[in-house]
């Protein structure tokens, strides 16, 4: 009786101290989910989420400090993917409200200063010195970095125009939900 109690207690003590030592010395430095989360983010380092770049945003997400809806350029799809990865529930109704936006140059006021081109993370603005600049819609992530540097306020954000190719049927309004 005493023999078995003593041996079990000794084993528990020994194994417990092994685990304690292991947790201290073999701990993983970085949260492995960070890299996966970073891969899901747009990678344009625009800083709209309030963090320096996508890597920092991913770290905050992994710690649970930031909501999955933090990334405006990523939109609904990114928020959904992040929520699925982190296993959290998310209210997407707020994300779809603003809708994805892209930059637009008002040609009458553009002076061709080239400042916006330099800050664009995806090279979506074309132009040259003293020439009217323009935005390549397909490449613009809607990060709005260019809007802040424009000296004449020629740059603004506008919702992505709905075309025949992008239009989708609305969800039927159901009276019985």
């Amino acid at each position: 009786m005493l023999m078995s109690v003593g041996s079990l207690a000794a084993m528990g003590l020994a194994l417990g101290s092994v685990l304690g030592v292991a947790s201290r010395y073999l701990a993983v430095e970085e949260n492995p989910i960070e890299a996966e989360l970073q891969a899901m983010l747009p990678g344009s380092q625009c800083g709209q989420c309030g963090y320096v770049g996508c890597a920092q945003a991913a770290a905050a997400l992994a710690k649970g400090e930031a909501p999955v809806t933090l990334c405006p350029p990523g939109g609904k799809a990114t928020a959904e993917a992040l929520a699925a990865k982190l296993g959290v529930k998310v209210d997407l109704s707020k994300v779809s409200d603003s809708g994805p936006q892209i930059a637009e140059v008002t040609e009458e006021i553009c002076i061709g200063c080239c400042r916006c081109m330099k800050v664009c993370p995806t090279d979506a603005i074309i132009g040259a010195a003293k020439q009217i600049h323009n935005v390549i819609r397909e490449a613009c992530t809607g990060c709005s970095s260019c809007v802040d540097v424009c000296p004449t306020e020629a740059l603004g954000m506008a919702p992505i125009p709905v075309t025949l190719q992008h239009w989708t049927w609305p969800k039927p309004a159901s009276a019985h939900s």
Binding site: A77, T78, D123, A124, T163, H166, W167, W169, P170, S174
Partner: protein
Amino acid sequence: MGFLDRFLKAPSWGVHPEDHKRPAADAPLRLFPSPERVFMPLSQHVGGAARPIVLVGQKVLKGQLIAEAQGNISAPIHAPVSGTISAVGEVTAPHPSGLPFKAITIESDGQDRWIETDPLADPFAATPEEVARRSALAGVVGLGGATFPSAVKFALGKRLKVGTLIVNGGECEPYLSSDDRIMRDFPEQVVDGARIVMHAIGASEALVGIEDNKPEAIAAMRKAAEPYPEVKIRPVPARYPMGSDKQLIQTLTGKEVPSDARAAEVGVLVHNVSTCAAVHKAIRLGHPLVERIVTLNGGAIATPGNVYAPLGTMISDLLAFVGLKEAPSRLILGGPMMGTPLLHDRIPIVKGASGILAFDAAEAFVPEAGPCIRCGNCTKACPMGLLPLEMAARIRVGDLEGAEAYALQDCISCGCCAYVCPSHIPLVQYFSHAKGELTNAERTKLRTDATKRLAEAKTARIERENREKAEAAARRKAEREAAKAAAAPAATPVAEQTQGASA
């Protein structure tokens, strides 16, 4: 399985709606008088929009090329009337959104002068490639409604060594009778077109499937096909959606097209009867696709029937031609089951426009949807063997991936499920919504991947530029120091010289 057995054994899928085809189908074909103005859209087909090659003010003849095909899958556009180009602008698209798309406006001179044509006397002596090339240049696309460029399908059929051509004369949609009319009035054009298509794809036989609710069309086609034993007329039971390619192939050949495969992969190719007639005109007469038969039917129309009209004619002009008994409560392009609801009638007809339906209030009535009672009628009606009730339940709560797991992408949007639903749930709209959202999500993902590559490329470029600048600076510094070291023991004028050079 013999023909009789097949006939007696009606398919287990689908529905049998009241067809409403007569009296419109029996009314003789009317020729639409040349319209004052036509609006010729640049994308009347699947694939890239055509590129305009005419200028405002230019005179064009009927059948003249006004926009050329762009890209591998595309079709050219020709002038449907002779006259003057008055604008290259926008017009409302025949689309449920009511959004505009690009179109060329032509003011007709009322003379309908044809451009000089280049017919092929003996298409069977020409190579299949030549037939396909001429069909592509004539802008022939699938006229059953899918509007896929026909020449692309010919090339696919040739490459996959298709043995059987199926000519689709099913026309299973209620109210429509444009294919019925083309088979009754121009059966020899359809049969000749089918033989030319057979030559183009290298097929050995053509099976013409016609629903048995069109006995006049069957008789006319039998007579026209008599001299050609390789063209077989096969009446099929009238059952919606018999005109869908997968269902028609299964009924005629017993072969089932796998979920992720195309018809050509089971050795058959499907072309519509109107497409065959268009191929006949393109090859034998050299006439590009600029006119078509349009059914005008529905309770709001005074004299329902079929009209032979130039493409680009405004629907309002067509409705004025046949007369309206009352303001239509609903306008539909195509059939009532799969057609496109139109917001107004200032929309031009396009290559794929088989009919315009103007419904009166009784026909347009949509009962309010109730809750699903899980009766399972939709699963019995679904011709693709899907579970519409399960998919709709998931889409309703926003679980699109869940619906996808129930093979949402196999849905052909035929509307059988919504037709039989006792609770009148708009099932097809749920599926169209989900398919659109899934396509958009996929597009967003591709876009995000592309912008990520761009961002990485920019970072790499800036790093490289900075490195190169630093290297160049270091090199210049080293050169300067070397020059200084070399100049130090030398006389003063030399040192002055190096200083001048480096400044």
